[in-house]
Amino acid sequence: MLSCQEMTELVTDYLEKRLTLMDRIRFRMHLGLCRHCRGYLEQMRATIRLLGRLPTQEEEPEVPEELLRRFASWKK
């Protein structure tokens, strides 16, 4: 039976779908029985969501003139 501490070390493997079948079963069983670890998994998911929001998309980046000129000379 997995301890909560072990769960926190396995969470990435779980989310990456890299646990062995046995470990995945153990992981899910523990989750079913432990709301704290469910809470932890949720925190991890929320963390990943936030990371995804980070690239605050600026307006369309300008393509530098110099680069366009280089392209023009390259294509010859």
Binding site: C4, T8, T12, Y40, E42, Q43, I48, L51, F71
Partner: protein, 238 residues
């Protein structure tokens, strides 16, 4: 009916003379996606709008990545510029062994590494040897959060308190995440940037960084654990 080029998984060497270009693209045990093939074709034909499109698509991500290697924004910009030039000069030799995007990002990583070694302030990282954290085993959560038998002693609190998503969406929260990422050991920062910020899959990230999937996963685990932990501290203080 012959399957379109994009859907053929090619074993061995396949050679095709493009109708409107002199260049021969060699596909070797790889898949040149339809989109990549189209883009490369347009670029090689001197289509400026294709180039503009390509640059606009990746510029922000490339810059973000360059900043991991070189702190100075102006230098990072130069590195990205050099990358585009290298892309142009290497394009005729692009064999489609990876996607165009992976190839471009790999060039960026190499350029940035080279540049970082020249900048005195980033010497330590330029080594690109082991990060301190790679040597020590880290823990995802401090040991004192658990009882000796490994159960939660101080369990994680619920983050969605009053208004579930609202708190999480606030600018401050994102700033905490951003700062934490910036302070991660470089390799962890690279992996979490590519995987969770840029949304790449494991394979692509590994291709770009030249590391194994297992190594990547360890780095990702540590990085995510650190960010979660910072968020927890921050949110609990509110």
């Amino acid at each position: 009916m012959r399957a379109p080029l994009a859907e053929i998984e090619i074993r061995g060497v396949f050679c095709q003379e493009l109708r409107d270009s002199q260049v021969r693209i060699v596909l070797e045990e790889g898949r040149l996606s339809r989109r990549d093939e189209e883009q490369v074709r347009r670029l090689l034909n001197g289509d400026e709008s294709a180039f503009v499109e390509l640059v606009r698509t990746h510029q922000a991500s490339l810059t973000r990545l360059a900043r991991v290697f070189v702190r100075d924004a102006a230098i990072a910009e130069e590195v990205v510029q050099e990358t585009w030039l290298a892309v142009l000069s290497g394009l005729r030799g692009f064999e489609g062994r990876s996607t165009l995007k992976t190839w471009i990002f790999r060039i960026l990583v190499n350029r940035a590494r080279t540049r970082a070694t020249r900048e005195s302030r980033t010497v330590a990282f330029a080594e690109l040897g082991l990060d301190a954290d790679e040597v020590e085993a880290g823990v995802a959560v401090e040991r004192d959060r658990f009882t000796p038998s490994g159960k939660w002693a101080r369990p994680p609190a619920a983050w969605d308190v009053d208004t579930p998503e609202e708190i999480l969406l606030r600018q401050e929260t994102l700033a905490v995440v951003e700062t934490t990422v910036e302070e991660l050991p470089p390799r962890q920062r690279l992996v979490i940037t590519l995987r969770d910020m840029e949304g790449m899959d494991a394979r692509e990230a590994c291709d770009i960084l030249g590391i194994t999937e297992t190594h990547q996963r360890v780095l990702l685990h540590r990085a995510r654990s650190k960010v979660r932990s910072s968020l927890e501290s921050y949110l609990e203080r509110k």
